[in-house]
Amino acid sequence: MTVLLNVNGTPRRVAADPAKPLLWVLREDLAMPGTKFGCGAGLCGACTVHADGEAIRSCQTSIADAAGRKITTIEAVAATPAGKRITESWAVLDVPQCGYCQAGQIMAATALLAANPRPDDAAIDAAMAGNICRCATYVRIRAAIKRAAGAGA
């Protein structure tokens, strides 16, 4: 069966089970492995992508549900205004350790910044608490979001 997706502004026709999670379609069918598998249960945020600008867990979203929405992934998020500021900030502060969760962190942070250009600590915690960083780069994640928001260096 074929499902039509819109990924990073490009229509993509995917021959896969409509129940297959978007995560695995991105990774296996569309050769976009930037979005990561962490828990398969919506508990860690490693698979975060945007659907119409909203941060969603792609491991919990079937392609049937993703169809008709504009999907943005880590591979293209830097092309959005908030994504550009976030990724630049991530690079300057050298946020990653192992780096595995960072795609999800960047997607969550970008959605936050797009919705709230000046997030305070409480807003950052609320938006980012769904994303686990096993290396615990949280100090720099917080600093990088603030830097991207122009609220500090």
């Binding site: 492995p33 398969g40 991530w90 780096g99």
Partner: protein, 722 residues
């Protein structure tokens, strides 16, 4: 090509076809003193960019950035010239390749700098010969050689031909820079893979892509050590997309078991879903008798009995306890823990024509090669291992079970590359766990609060007098070496749980036990822990080496304790807050930490953590160093209060995902203030030693806030706040 073999270093320089210069250098790890070598390669391209082989596995600790920094510094390169190149696993080509024990820094610090200095020396000699001037009249900077007198300047790449013709430099003439001359070492350098990570480029083991790639999911016996009684794979084989099904046995664990069923499909999602159709009966009656509740009951009974074996004994602890003005007694406990790397265990392999190629996110490739050669009956040369960036290690990837599993699966589908991926529950339920432990401690103090005697009965895991991996006791445990009367005994219980090294192994548990208990001892004597620590440490001196590791230096310990107390203005405490202190020495590093908390409606809020550490004379990459400490502090706090404990019921782990095995999240992140005490000792590693002290420091802070001692991990905060 020139090759000169000196007693210690082997340096080979050769022209690269198409231009450029290649150096292959083998450098001994002097500190190891056992013939251990590390090899490096340096390739100077015609555009003067310099590729440096970063041969240590990268798990997020920064080795792929640090190793090139050491070489580039002594080569006098501009950092922008440097390309860090991943390597394959090959001990013949690269010497030691293992990421563990915080040993990367101590083993590479001098050898890799010597490599860089040797290359620079040869380039200088080439310039001197070409220009007919004295080497002493030449200088280097940013990958160029300059001759001030004549104003000549040449890029290293321009010296390729001349350098390749020269004999290798005499090792005796190689001079390392003085620290004051460092321009790369000691400056924060972003991770070499950071841009690719941020762009979502494929980097990790799980991202490996090969033409015709198939995916495998695996079903292992829930009860560790169980074997397959019967397995009906027919339904799984019939699932559309499934390519193959098979049973396998890796034979890794000495306890047996390791039976598994694997499903290979054109999608991992398909393979994993097809597991639901499997009908497997396990032989696991004996294994099902194991449970953590059973261990706890048994251990608490054993604590009251005489230990099976004596581990440490000095003076007459019984007599000293009998004469003590006051005795302190307490039982401590900590649970099994999983590693929970965010990238689940995975590995990719292709078996073809009697040889196997493996792409492995592993911390210890050569161990994997040994296991694969044994399991497949292949010569070591038939196993090629590509090192792939790992999404976290924490010691989990020092075990190579996934490598053997995927090798056996790949052999069943010759020519087809297969990527094995563990689901999150596979990963949590089939780990090599930090072992649980129980301690009964007694201490005697005199009228002034001085510690006279210390005893411990340690209940650990093992059989026939042999403790399991990471379940051992360190005989140099602080403060045993500093006391006249000690008595530590051990009793071992059997378990079916595979055990392994978790970041700061043994120390992550023992720090809690001994620094928590010493806080009790200090309080019983009417003093605080830093005061008791200073008294125990006495004058600055080096204690004897223990188990091949450098001995404890009381002066370095004292310095970090003094430092952290000054940073936090100890013993003052801000209003509404409470503070606890912890110190630990592990993996060659000295760390003292103070945790500041507040209580909010029965909840403990960790507000601030002060950290003072001594890892030697030089912080090589300060940005990364701070990250390693921050991560370790948050991880330690997570072990203490996030609620992490692996529970065994019917021989199997019950935790299946992050809802029941919680990891710390951003909203529990305190302010972390880090300072390094620079000492006159060689630089040592930082992946591990900052983690252990934060756990007792938090427990001690909770006591300061509530008057209650929490002696079991994870800390039951509700109990204290009640």
């Amino acid at each position: 090509m020139t090759a000169v073999i000196t007693r210690r270093m082997v340096i080979k320089a050769a022209l690269i076809a198409g231009g450029g210069l290649a150096f292959d250098i083998s450098a001994p790890v002097a500190a190891a003193g056992d013939g251990t070598i590390i090899n490096a390669f340096v390739r100077i391209a015609p555009d003067n960019s310099v590729s440096i082989g970063a041969s240590y596995p990268e798990i997020g600790q920064g080795a792929r950035t640090m190793l090139p920094m050491l070489i580039a510094e002594e080569m006098d390169l501009a950092w922008s010239q440097v390309r860090a190149v991943p390597t394959i696993a090959d001990e013949k080509a690269f010497g030691q390749q293992i990421t563990g024990g915080s040993e990367t820094t101590p083993t590479t610090w001098l050898p890799m700098r010597r490599v860089g200095a040797a290359v620079r020396q040869q380039l200088l000699a080439a310039a001197a010969a070409s220009w007919g001037v004295d080497v002493a009249s030449l200088t280097t900077a940013d990958g160029h050689v300059s001759h001030a007198a004549s104003g000549r300047r040449i890029a290293y790449a321009g010296l390729a031909e001349a350098a390749a013709k020269l004999p290798a430099p005499d090792e005796k003439t190689i001079r390392l820079k003085e620290p004051a001359q460092f321009r790369i070492i000691g400056t924060a350098r972003a991770g070499v893979d950071t841009p690719a990570i941020i762009a979502g480029k494929p980097l990790f083991g799980i991202d490996v892509s090969l033409p015709g790639l198939a995916y495998a999911a695996i079903e292992m016996c829930p009860a560790f050590g169980g074997t397959i009684a019967s397995a009906d794979l027919s339904k799984a084989s019939a699932v559309p997309g499934v390519i193959a099904t098979l049973t396998l046995n890796t034979g890794i664990n000495p306890g047996g078991g390791d039976d598994a069923v694997a499903i290979v499909a054109n999608s991992w999602w398909t393979a994993n879903k097809a597991r639901e159709t499997l009908a497997i009966k396990w032989n696991d009656a004996a294994q099902r008798a194991h449970s953590t509740a059973g261990y706890d009951t048994a251990a608490r009974k054993l604590l009251r009995q005489k230990p099976q074996a004596e581990l440490v004994r000095s003076g007459d602890a019984a007599a000293a306890l009998a004469q003590a003005a006051r005795r302190v007694e307490a039982d401590y406990h900590y649970p099994f823990l999983a590693h929970a790397t965010l990238e689940p265990q995975n590995c990719t392999a292709r078996f073809k024509d009697g040889a196997i190629e493996v792409w492995a996110p592993t911390q210890w490739p050569e161990d994997g090669r040994e296991l694969v050669t044994k399991a497949l009956g292949l010569p070591p040369s038939a196993v090629t291992i590509h090192l792939v960036r790992a999404g976290g290690g924490f010691g989990r990837r020092l075990q190579n079970d996934y490598m053997v599993q995927v090798a056996q699966i790949a052999r069943a589908v010759p020519g087809v590359p297969v990527k094995l991926i563990n689901s999150r529950s596979d990963d949590l339920r089939h780990d090599y766990y930090r072992p649980a432990g129980w301690h009964r401690l007694s201490a005697g103090i005199d009228a002034k609060g001085r510690l006279l005697a210390l005893t411990d009965h340690f209940i650990s895991f093992g059989a026939d007098g042999k403790t399991l991996r990471a379940a051992e006791f360190n005989k140099a445990e602080f403060p045993l070496q500093l006391l006249a009367n000690t008595d530590v005994g051990q009793t071992l219980m059997a378990t079916n749980v595979p055990t392994g090294w978790l970041r700061a192994p043994t120390s992550n548990a023992m720090a809690f036990v001994f620094q928590g208990f010493l806080d009790e001892v200090a309080a019983a004597g009417g003093r605080d822990l830093p005061t008791l620590m200073r008294e125990l440490l006495g004058p600055a001196r080096q204690l004897p080496d223990s188990d091949g590791m450098p001995g404890f230096n009381t002066g370095r310990a004292r310095a970090v304790i003094d430092k952290v107390c000054a940073m936090a203005d100890w013993p003052k405490t801000p209003p509404g807050k409470a503070r606890g202190f912890g110190f630990y020495f592990s993996h060659r590093g000295y760390f003292a930490e103070i945790v500041e908390i507040s209580l909010n409606q029965g909840e403990v809020i960790v507000e601030k953590v002060f950290v003072a550490g001594d890892i030697g004379s030089q912080i090589i990459n300060p940005g990364n160093a701070r990250q390693q400490v921050e991560g370790a502090i948050i991880e330690g706090l997570g072990q203490a209060i996030a609620g992490q404990a692996i529970e065994l019921v019917d021989g199997a782990v019950t935790q299946a995902n992050f809802d029941t095995y919680p990891l710390p999240r951003i909203d529990a992140t305190p302010a972390i203030i880090v300072e390094f005490v620079i000492s006159d000792f060689p630089p040592t590693g930082l992946g591990e030693p900052s983690l252990p002290p934060v756990i007792p420091a938090l427990a001690n802070a909770i006591h300061a806030a509530t008057g209650k001692r929490l002696r079991s991990l994870p800390l039951n905060v509700a109990l204290a706040a009640a």
